[in-house]
Symmetry: D2
Subunit: 282 residues, 4 copies
């Protein structure tokens, strides 16, 4: 990542560290910052394992690079056996993901969600039906949305990028009484026609007391998704929040899959199984 | 209609006169205003036959009553023979009804309209399909919208009153390259369960070089609709636009169907025919 | 509170318990639920001291009543000595209150906030200036907003109720790099002309490593505000979130100030001091 | 203008002809279309003098060029003598410019307009005060808005291009009971730092029974503004409305001021006089 700080200083808050959770082990990582006397610290969110880098940079060029080797262990389940959790039994911290948020105005979608998904049998397949609906009714088009675009805009305009697909799916899930949240990550396995590897946005829905992964944009391989940060929507997990006047260039991202000598690692592939890498408290 | 003007004076602009057009004859009418020295005048819009009452009222109570006997002659056509007019052949004054307006943001609905209605055969039935879609996907509920509610809100929230149904149908028609406009009128034949007779909002779509009637809310009998004013959307034809501080009560409306001795008049009924009471220049 | 559950059952999530924090002691409380076999539980949010009541009610009438005696100890400070905390030093959990939320779209207000408040000296007085601006530029009018009204709507329309004042102040604070959050409470000391005692919404801004109270609607006595729940905006702390079909009547609320025999308690009055009842972790 | 029609044909509706009015004489003009067998026609709007080019083009490249020499005669008036027209005396066709439109939601700005401009003495200077307010509170920044950006967005975000300045001024005028409309034109005299000559959007306000010119973006020389088309807002006067799949490049525009041998023409300069080039019916 390359920035130029225009004034005397600027503050950055980054979420580009790989989250370190029970299911996502950070085997090795390396952070490099070109300004030797920059103040910085990495802070972990105890509940969600995500790690934010806070950085107070001085005027001039700022170059930050981060590399990590991570190992993801998926919990896999038969979709037919993954069920919804009744409202009464939802953990308190999960209940928060039922409320509307900046880019997921579920409070406006109750009638729509009920008409479209209210009659479906409860369970994983209902979340999958919402995911499929979003995937089939929104067109993926680069640069078709702006920073303030939210779920209702995407529902109206039917075009967006991965973040918009995620916001619309989350809003529809919440309006259907399914707790749902936003995950930022990287898009291993994305269609090369969409360009070089990039940050990605995907969705987790709370079912059978776990968070299950969904990729409504359909542009990545779900098994290849690597978690950076988790929140209610994009407002919570911006890759970079900047306080001060700064110019920037597009960050450079590279994602490679490794397989060890013993072939004991599994390369990400498409699977019909329900995938999860998070329980309530990991 | 009963108002109380709070300050020294207030200006009113009313559209409650029955429009006087080639298809809608005003057989008799009577206007009564309680303030004897009020300045007022009735003005006709030459193109559309609607008549506005402008009134400069003094402080105190203002009572206005209007009665009219009108005769409507419908042009009826076989829906299968009513066709769309190519963009190149649309009259200039009709082209205006293709543009987005305050409450009909058709510019945001191109993808949606194309996905839903773009594949249908062109003609009256495509407009009817849009009308039916709106009717079946929006719930009629009194007091469920506010003055600033527009078509995209109704598309998102799926609830509204007759004006919201009309705005959404108009926006979807325009986004489908079908010129469409808003008509204010009265709702003869409305379900008595919805309350006493009321002002009504319905839609006209330009097909086969005429404007054809549609009632997306489905609450009135289309043959019984009586035209007050015609515009791009509700912003153009508000029943009362008031300049000044005024209190008001709900206007009292009564609509009765007459049949003459010779039985030569036809009572409004439901019909499968396409109905029109307006050509481009009437 | 009186409800009627229309179907076989309905779930409620209430925030009407007085928060129990280091500054707000619950001396006594009593909860009564008329359905003897209702499943319910009260859960505390460890960080914020608020307590939610979850309740799974059966068909029929549901009556819930709650009374509490609480004692509030205010931290008071000289406004001139209360300063802003630099972004780099903000605790991680406070940083969340810098992000836009459902009803506080601070991401759209950066230019406006900077033009209006960016030149002011940093500190408590800047937050007070935002509070005053909102108070003087928005008109308080009952029933002037709806459930989906958000800060940008209030900025445009300049009218609202206490919740709208709070949302706009919060959004402007965040857009000014001041962490701000929404508190639901009761409005002891409200102008009786506004009606009987009611739920109230007020604001806390993070300054000098504490959360300081502001009442932008100006309808209550800040010293008399009693905290129910704290969140990013109204979406987080709704008095009642209901899952299921239910009818309800307006809840009945009563607030009384007590003074003990020894006169050792202080009755809420207006004060020029900065008031706080919350640190980061209380 | 250069386009490529992707399918068998496409329809275009252009507003790039210089309007031909009592105040703006088209001395000479020349239109060139590269497709020899293209169907096209130029239509005049009788009331407003604008001329639309309708064109049904075939697959392949389409090149259209238009040149015109025009002469503008300004009505000039002492601003102090230009007064507002009472609502009762507004011509019927002017009343339409009091209503909210797609990009000018004046219905939401009544409180704001009243608080800011309601106390000012009536007349030209009130319109000028609105123009100045918009000019000083919105930042001009290229590419800062999108096609769906409307006046309330600009009021919130305080950034835009000339069309956004025009929409906000129009909305505030209408909310202040001043009829206002949108004019598309060219920006002779624009700051060269803003790039090559371009299409421009400016405002007309109805005062003293004429339409007076305002340029809220302040980027052009008002005397140099040349009218293309006039409407309620940008929705009515889009430079090009295209029906069909088409690719395009930025049109090339050139504007030059001429002075004849006898020096009888006047070069556009800044003036403190109120300028008008349109009465109600010209």
């Amino acid at each position: 990542m390359d920035y130029t700080v225009l004034d005397q200083s600027a503050d950055f808050f980054f979420y580009f560290h790989a989250a370190h959770t029970a299911h996502q082990q950070v085997v090795a990582e390396h952070l490099e910052i070109n300004q030797p006397d920059t103040q910085w610290r990495v802070e972990s969110s105890p509940q969600r394992g995500q790690r934010g880098l806070r950085l107070h940079a001085s005027q001039g060029p700022l170059h930050v690079s981060y590399t990590a080797t991570i190992e993801i262990q998926h919990h896999m389940a038969n979709p037919a056996l993954v069920s919804e959790v009744s409202v009464f039994d939802l953990p308190l911290e999960v209940l928060h993901y039922m409320y509307p948020s900046r880019y997921c105005q579920s409070d406006r979608l109750a009638n729509f969600a009920n008409a479209m998904f209210g009659h479906l049998p409860m369970g994983y397949m209902r979340a999958q039906a919402i995911c499929d609906w979003v995937h089939h009714h929104v067109e993926f088009r680069s640069n078709s949305s702006i920073g303030t675009t939210a779920a209702v805009d995407t529902l109206v305009e039917r075009v967006g990028v991965c973040r918009d697909f995620a916001h619309l799916m989350i809003a529809l899930c919440r309006a259907s009484n399914l707790p749902a949240r936003f995950v930022s990550g990287t898009d291993y396995g994305a269609d090369p026609a969409l360009g070089p590897p990039d940050f990605h946005a995907y969705v987790e829905v709370y079912l059978s007391h776990r968070w299950y992964l969904f990729d409504p944009s359909g542009t990545a391989t779900p098994m290849g998704l690597m978690r950076l940060a988790t929140g209610r929507d994009a407002a919570d997990v911006a890759f970079a929040t900047i306080f001060g006047r700064v110019t920037s260039v597009q960050p450079h991202i590279q994602v490679t899959a490794h397989q060890d000598a013993a072939n004991s690692w599994v390369l990400p592939t498409y699977t019909a199984m329900a995938l999860s890498t998070s329980t309530t408290d990991s």
